[in-house]
Amino acid sequence: MSEKKGRTGTKVLIYLLLVVWAVVVLFPFYWMVLTSVKKTSAYNNENVPQIITADPTLENYGKAFTEVDLGRYFVNTVIFTVSTTMLMMLVTVPASFAFARLKFRGKDLTFALFLSLMMIPTELVIITNYVTVVNLELNRGARTFLGLILPSVTSVFYIYLLKENFEAIPDELYNAAKVDGTSDLKYLLKVMVPISQPTIVTIVILKAIECWNSYVWPRLITRETKYFLVSNGIQAIRESGFGRQDIPAMMAAVVVVSVPLIVMFILFRDKIMAGVSRGGTKG
């Protein structure tokens, strides 16, 4: 009896801990949304920050799009994310296939070299990449997109992940296809890619999240505000735009930037969490 009581007590404590942490995680999101619908004048008159608002408004969202070019930053980020992710797949899929299925001289050595590149931190190569982009003038005008995209394409880790996945596909399938006279390329596209679809989707999602959030590289090379990505836009709003004077409008911009990621997370929660637990390294 007393042991049972003790166990219930422990359970209560556990739930208490979990609820407290859930509040800590969710509260900033709540505050973000709440502040974004407060009237600017009302917000600035709050000596005591209000936990709810009786008079919500959407006017801040209008300001977020008119006072800075948030819409353009949004489009830029979509272009950057989609092109980088697509290029990454065009590089990753054939490379993974070569490592997983083809026999060639120097394969083990090349693969070892690829793996060792995984340990190289971005900070080490960013200096030369910056010089390369500046020298090739890939930070001028619309070419900024090339400067943004090209150095962001390669991810050795995803080649490794997909290669492992390709290797798990039984050899019999490949041999049968060979007997039937199917070409390697056709086999790759018609058999391996569809079978590995879950992994490919995971890789695409993880890369897209990474692109959507990138800040350092775009900040480094983008000279014209026209080519800002959302992260740069947010930072610019904070430093020079209406941010300091108009916190609700700034929060509206923050909500707009965060929503696509949250939607993606809700849609692909299991895939994202499984993918990250297999290979994410952020943290």
Binding site: V24, L26, P28, T154, L220
Partner: protein
């Protein structure tokens, strides 16, 4: 036949090799060259000599020392705190059934958010303005200028935000590690009448120690590269806020007012790499004796 396969394989690898060669391998060699070319002038592309001058210059630069100090404090505080707290939460999660999935989903949310965006929310929660003391001050009943105030209050906010950001990854990994511990061990221990504390020390901890250790290593590496979180809280001029990090110092050497100093940037980046490498090595050495690999 064999030759043809060779050619074909390299063709499949060609895009990857091109991208990696231009944006990874070449820069890697190039950064070593930059680091030893003294007084490199980026416009004339000339340098005065070859040696360790850049390293000396960086190590005697007050701004670098400040960045080094900030980064170390951040690492020493956030890695143990976030790892310990995530272990606690993961243990809690693995002890419950109802609502487990909901909690897991919520806890993962910070992973998929834009650091810059959410950092601004943290800034507002802590910020003290002419209108208000801010929510955190109000809850604590204090009157502290967290964002523009003293060094340690700024460091506190930085650490809190960093922990908040890195927790999702750690909770996720630890929860799946705990779930993969063979339940038979627990059953056997219960039959033997072992206490919960003893079960944790003798079974759970040894079984998940490789995971904990993996998280500590990746935690160290991640925390040493801190930069964006600080920008989100204090703005791009981190030197003015006294909150710069090593990575921030590297970027400062590339552009803005102090830009174009590629030699110093390269030296600072290599120092960072050396620190991370050394700490990872020590961790690995240490773990050989302590960690049980199954």
């Amino acid at each position: 036949m064999k030759e043809k396969n060779n050619l074909k394989a390299w063709l499949y690898l060609l895009p990857a090799i091109l991208f990696l060669g231009v944006f990874m391998l070449y820069p890697l060699i190039d950064v070593l060259i930059y680091s030893v070319e003294e007084n490199y002038a980026s416009i004339a592309r000339t340098y005065t000599g070859v040696g360790l001058g850049n390293f000396r210059k960086v190590l005697s630069d007050e701004l670098f020392i400040q960045a080094l100090k900030n980064t170390f404090i951040l690492v020493i505080i956030t890695v143990p705190v976030s790892t310990g707290l995530s272990l606690l939460i993961a243990l809690g999660l693995s002890a419950i059934k109802p609502l487990k999935k909901a909690f897991q989903t919520i806890y993962f949310l910070p992973y998929v958010t834009n650091t810059l965006a959410v950092g601004l929310v943290f800034m507002i929660l802590f910020d003290k303005t002419e209108y208000t003391r801010g929510l955190v001050n109000l809850l604590l009943g204090t009157d502290i200028d967290f964002i523009d105030g003293g060094y340690w209050t700024k460091m506190l906010v930085t650490c809190l935000y960093t922990v908040w950001i890195v927790m999702p990854f750690k909770i996720l990994i630890l929860t799946s590690a705990l779930a993969s511990v063979n339940q038979d061990y627990y059953k056997a221990a219960r039959v033997d009448g072992a206490s919960s504390a003893r079960i944790f020390r003798k079974i759970t901890l040894p079984m998940i120690s490789p995971t904990v250790f993996y998280l500590i290593i990746t935690g160290f590496i991640g925390a040493f590269k801190a930069y964006s979180d600080e920008v989100a809280l204090f703005g791009t001029n981190l030197n003015a806020a006294g909150m710069n990090t090593i990575v921030g110092y590297v970027y400062d050497m590339l552009y803005s007012d102090t830009g174009g100093q590629y030699g110093n940037a390269a030296a600072a980046a290599l120092i960072l790499f050396a620190i991370v490498f050394t700490i990872t090595y020590i961790n690995l050495k240490f773990s050989r004796n302590k960690v049980q690999y199954m």
